[in-house]
């Protein structure tokens, strides 16, 4: 059972996406688990053959519990699984699969609807999204929202209890960046246009290269720097709460790729198709409340990370350039950072670097 955050203790296995004997490649999705953050796809990190399942669907198990046994290339089958599991280590046959559309299956997990108890109204008795939503008791979605609230409460309480935050803010002109983006978007077909948020994300990721003390995690043995920059993006959910999955290696993606990944990530965050690795990967997070008219965001660090940047609205303000007052679109970036891992000097240089990068958007 993968951990999707410092405060996740257990998860419930919803279904297997493979069966014993199947060949799997690293990165394949092999199971769906239900957590406080919704239904999450679990990937496998090694290639091989599924030998047996160690946990059956419907069971809740602690984080770290082996879910299945995979035989690597050339590895012989063992009679007894060696991994300690709190559940009987017997091979469980895959559950009988009823005809359920993938979107209905996902929604069923989100709403806590038991698919086995439903009769479908679709073709050949297939269970449709509408069937699931009809069957969902209002209480079930309240439970889901309640679980999400508790998860956020646990993480944020821990952050405020344990992390000595310091806060810095800086306001930059984004006029050159937006002018460049408008010209760029005018050349692009609609589905390939880039949102201003992507420029802010890319500038943040690049600035992190020169601020290693802000990129990583803090555990019992101190700060651990990450060589990779996986930028968490806070996505609000319509059902309440938020998740912050990662844009992997955001500093190395070009703007088009980053936009594509962001669009995909937001869609999956809201429809319940995130992968476990995306939720556990962030090495630093960005949150933006600008669209709600907020000019300054002072965010709370998501443990075990050590920093988070909040962007406010892009607003037009009087701005002094070369001794003259001009109208410019500006944005305020605020950094909350863990004083155990870095000092204000480092944070200030980091914010300065974001501002500088935004003045040369063609280099992003």
């Amino acid at each position: 059972m993968p951990s999707l955050g410092a405060d996740m203790e257990a998860g419930r296995l919803v279904e297997w996406r493979v069966k014993p004997g199947d060949r799997v490649q690293a990165g394949d999705i092999i199971a769906v688990v239900e957590t406080q953050k919704g239904a999450i796809d679990v990937e496998i990190f090694q290639s091989g053959v599924v030998e047996s399942f160690l946990v059956e669907p419907g069971r809740e198990v602690p984080v770290g519990t082996p879910l299945a046994r995979i035989l690597g290339e050339g590895e012989a089958a063992t009679a007894v699984p060696a991994a300690p599991a709190p559940t009987p280590a017997a091979t469980v046959p895959p559950p009988a699969r009823s005809r359920v559309s993938p979107v209905a299956r996902r929604r069923a997990v989100e709403l806590g609807v038991d698919l086995a108890a439903l009769s479908g109204s679709g073709e050949e008795g297939a269970i449709t999204l509408a069937d699931v939503e009809r069957a969902a008791a209002p209480a079930a979605s309240q439970d889901r929202a309640g679980a999400m609230r508790r998860a956020i409460a646990a993480a944020m309480s821990r952050a405020k209890r344990e992390i000595p935050h310091y806060y810095l803010s800086a306001t930059f002109s984004v006029e050159p960046a937006l002018a460049w983006l408008e010209a760029e978007n005018a050349r692009r077909p609609l589905p390939e246009r880039i949102l201003p948020a992507v420029l802010l994300l890319k500038a943040t990721a690049l600035a992190l290269r020169a601020a290693p003390e802000l990129n990583g995690t803090y555990a019992g043995d101190g700060f651990r720097h990450s060589d990779d920059i996986h930028l968490g993006v806070a996505v609000f959910l319509r059902s309440g709460g938020l998740v912050a999955p990662a844009l992997r290696n955001a500093d190395r993606s070009d703007l088009s790729a980053l936009m594509h990944e962001l669009r995909d990530l937001v869609a999956r965050a809201r429809s319940g198709g995130l992968r476990a690795s995306e939720l556990s990967a962030p090495t630093m997070t960005v949150t933006s409340l600008g669209e709600q008219g907020v000019e300054v965001v002072l965010p709370v660090i998501i443990p075990p990370q050590v920093a988070i940047v909040g962007f406010g609205s892009i607003v037009e303000r009087p701005w002094v350039e070369a001794g003259a007052v001009v109208a410019r679109r500006v944005v305020t970036a605020s950094l909350a950072a863990d004083h155990r891992a870095s000092d204000g000097h480092c944070g200030a240089l980091f914010l300065q670097a974001i501002g500088r990068l935004l003045q040369e958007p063609e280099k992003l």
């Binding site: 005018a186 609609l190 589905p191 246009r193 949102l195 201003p196 319509r238 669209e291």
Partner: protein, 83 residues
Amino acid sequence: MNENEIRTRVLAELTAVAPDVVAAEVEPGTRFRDQFDFDSMDFLNFAIGLHQAFAIEIPEADYPQLQTLDGAVAYVKRQRVVP
């Protein structure tokens, strides 16, 4: 395609982007973002939906015209290529 058909299709694109929106409850003259949580990603997806559903080009400068249901319907009516 008459105006009612366009309106129905525009609403379908809107609810595809924001599944929590009830089509019958959308206030036609009020900006989407003032009625429900509708961020710039939602707006882009809505614009892409209209672009694909009606085969129309939508320059970024025209986005402000699509911020309400009435505005989007009127825009599509003007821009749509008659088959």
